[in-house]
């Protein structure tokens, strides 16, 4: 069941992205930004936790899930360390994903070359 719900919720996120892309001719960068920011605010209003309960990885793997982690980190740390927590919490919580992308990106750039199309 987890797998089915992951598939459905994750797929639906992508369908929303596709509609925005095709209908409003938005560049991919705008979609990524919009999705991450909406994930942040959906978490703040307590909606995203419910989505994760239903959708499992279908809600955490898409980019709004990244926004969700950002908000979670910021709010958790803010409750512990006040202002400094709000400043660092989001970065801390999402650091593994960003650092991994940076590390793998750099390694791939060194090893591979762009292919002709």
């Amino acid at each position: 069941m987890n797998y089915v719900m992951s598939f459905v919720i994750g797929g639906l996120f992508c369908v929303i992205g596709q509609i925005i892309m095709d209908k409003f001719k938005l560049n991919a960068a705008y979609i990524l930004v919009t999705f991450v920011v909406s994930g942040v605010f959906l978490n703040y209003f307590g909606i995203y936790d419910k989505l994760v309960e239903i959708g499992y990885s279908g809600a955490t793997v898409p980019l709004p899930g990244f926004g969700n982690s950002l908000a979670k980190g910021a709010i958790e740390e803010a409750s512990k360390n006040g202002f400094m927590g709000a400043l660092s919490g989001g970065v801390m919580k999402t650091a593994p994903g960003v650092a991994a992308a940076l590390l793998f990106g750099y390694m791939v750039a060194i090893i591979f070359n762009p292919k002709k199309k």
Partner: protein
């Protein structure tokens, strides 16, 4: 007939081929769903196979997906998938990884410092900027409205 900006817009719309939204959405659903399911499978492997706590397992699954996406980008496969899947390969975290790896690769010839390193967040940078900014705002809000 002389066209002005308004009337020309109508002519363009008439002759510009439309994107195949229904087909694109279907493919986005399939590919996006599959990537998320793969994430769930990896997470469960970590939880049941290595006794990792659920929250950490989710993060580790993301890292694995990021690594897979980076490799596929290096082999020149991810953009071929993207052509079919559209948003299905952009919206998941693998799309974020692809947007980090592809400029790093593209600007390699301009040097590892001013090429690869300077451009590595060329596309993903905006995501981090607005992501961190809004997380900070939400953190502050949570302090103010307890």
């Amino acid at each position: 007939m002389k066209y002005n900006k308004e009337s020309y817009k109508k002519v363009i719309d008439e002759y510009t081929p439309k994107n195949k939204i229904v087909k694109n959405c279907f493919m986005a659903f399939i590919f996006g769903g599959a990537i998320c399911t793969l994430g769930e499978i990896i997470k469960n492997i970590f939880v049941s196979g290595f006794d990792v706590p659920k929250d950490d397992a989710g993060v580790m699954a993301s890292v694995v997906l990021v690594g897979l996406s980076a490799l596929l980008t290096g082999f020149g496969v991810y953009d071929d998938l993207g052509k079919i899947a559209g948003a299905g390969t952009i919206v998941p975290i693998t799309g974020f990884a692809n947007s980090v790896v592809s400029p790093a690769l593209e600007y390699k010839k301009e040097g590892l410092v001013l090429g690869t390193a300077a451009n590595i967040f060329k596309l993903a940078g905006p995501v981090l900027v607005y992501g961190y900014l809004s997380a900070f705002i939400v953190g502050l809000l949570s302090l103010i409205f307890k």
